[in-house]
Amino acid sequence: MLSLALGRSRSTGGEREARAALMLRALIGLLLVVSVLSLGTGAAGLNLADLAHAAIKGELSTRDQVILWNIRLPRLAMGLLIGAALAVSGALMQGLFRNPLADPGIVGVGAGAGLGAVLAIVVGGLLPAGIAVHFGGQLVPLAAFLGGWGATLLLYRLATRGGHTSVANMLLAGIALGALAGAFTGILVYLADDKQLRDLTFWSMGSLAGAGWGKLATALPLILPVLLFSPLMARGLNALALGEAQAAHLGIEVERLKQLIILGVAAATGAAVAVAGGIGFIGIVVPHLLRISTGPNHRYLLPNAALLGASLLVGADMIARTIVAPAELPIGIVTAVLGAPVFLWILMRRQGLVGI
């Protein structure tokens, strides 16, 4: 009887792991399919058939080569990178705050980056021409990244007393800081001229348009380490589900883990927001869908979130590029239209999900 029970519980205990491993493979498949579709979709007339033809015959016109190498591939890579960054950052934040509805925005990245971007757009116009030219198109992303990073550091400082970071204080200070950044942003918006307003609005809605190898090279060193090292934090995040004190008793260096997660998320989301603007809901919806299907174990959640987030953002970008072609919809609109109902569905499905 005991051995029977042992055998059964072992199989049921391992069921989630098996499902998570299967999910990993399915998500890799999805990623490949979406990537190929994305390469074959766009305003210029290079489609899947052309790509297949090129793959078989090994020849592609110079024009198509340029489209593929200079427009579609960097855009695909950017979508993958940013989608993965947002989803993994969301999963990390939710694990840290022990709340499935936490979002990278909580650490002030969004508000700080927004202020930085607006500052660059509005005040940047006043800079001597030489400086503006020197920075080229990089002034807004740079300011956004610095704004996001600065806000997170400030928030971290505010919530840390005597070596202990209070996650609850960080949440509350984040609300105050967000409101303050919003007020300053409002002042700048008030001062902005019509063209600047238009730039601002589009920036805040997010877009992968203008993705190039240069932008990719800026974002990659900030995002890739977070993606690669996040699985190392899985054990600590799992333990953190029992509470900070219990996690420490299990041997986790809790304060260092918090520090790593906060700085990692600030770097990854800061870079993502800087190069692509405000893209919402990926960070909440992706980890949550995965938790429903394969459980909350971060060992599987983090890599799977990276894959699903990447696929979803590339998919959303395909919609953004084609639905009003030849014009483009800001991708933040697409993710919000798709993500907000899913978010509501999650809320309705599980009452009492929020532990505060």
Binding site: L2, L6, G13, P100, R235, L240, A241, L242, I252
Partner: protein
């Protein structure tokens, strides 16, 4: 060996515990008893390094205030009064959290064995959040057991620190949990438990530490601590001890009508 030298704890600048010195040897079960608000849980939290204190606490020679989390985790496990879980982990997943990276990491069937010990094997695949309070307590005990599965290992004895381990349990499971703790001590490990039930403490503990108003009133064998005078004073009501001659232990503190 657990050595507590003259520790004081203040919470929000209010002193809640002062001048407590105590030793607990491997192979024994020590129960911390006392009335509500006497500082029992605070003392336990100091012993596990959860609150700052003045004075010194060493566990197997390791300074608790300075040791790294992993050093302490390798020799002692802690079971809190109540543990809220943030995400819907299964019972088995919760217990696996107790598997340390070192000596127990390879023993993959340990979680099942620990779960069988607390009689919850049939709940292995259930969502922890769906369990009753008492079942959660037993799952947490199993998790703690997994962390220090062998009562003696490299570097000395292993320790269990339990904060009211039987608080939400029925009579049968109270005995089950206390027997597990007793067995751990008999096998060479050390157990320190905050207890409310003086009878259970008298039955299972080798040593009682009686706290009252933030001070250690008495510490020693149960029959030296469970006296009418000490208990009546500590609990602020008249209490009489009855001995069961057949049993050998001192039992049944009994309130008398005044």
């Amino acid at each position: 060996m657990l050595q507590v030298e003259n520790i004081c704890v203040a919470l929000n600048r209010r002193p809640v515990l002062c001048g407590v010195s105590l030793t607990a040897r491997p192979g024994t079960l020590t129960a911390i008893v006392g009335p509500n608000g006497s500082g029992k849980t605070t003392l336990l939290r100091a012993l596990i390094g959860e609150v700052a204190y003045q004075g010194k606490v060493t566990l197997n020679g390791l300074d608790v205030a300075r040791a790294k989390a992993w050093q302490l985790a390798a020799i002692r496990a802690v079971m809190a009064q109540e543990t809220q879980l943030a995400f819907p982990f299964t019972v088995l997943e919760v217990i696996r959290l107790g598997l340390s990276m070192g000596e127990n990491a390879d023993a993959r069937d340990l979680p099942q064995r620990a779960l069988a010990e607390v009689g919850l094997l049939h709940h292995a695949a259930r969502n922890y959040q769906d369990l009753s309070g008492g079942e959660r307590q037993r799952v947490q005990l199993a998790r703690a057991l997994v962390q220090v599965w062998n009562p003696v290992g490299a570097g000395g004895a292993r320790w269990l620190f339990l904060d009211e381990p039987v608080a939400s349990l029925d009579l049968g499971h109270q005995l089950q949990v206390m027997r597990l703790a007793r067995r751990f001590a008999d096998a060479g490990g050390g157990v320190v438990a905050v207890m409310h039930d003086l009878n259970l403490s008298a039955m299972f503990a080798d040593k009682l530490a009686l706290l009252a108003e933030g001070a250690l009133v008495a510490a020693g064998r149960p029959d030296t601590v469970l006296t009418d005078a000490l208990l009546s004073n500590a609990y602020g009501c008249p209490i009489r001890i009855n001995a069961l001659p057949s049993h050998g232990t001192w039992l049944l503190p009994q309130a008398v009508a005044s």
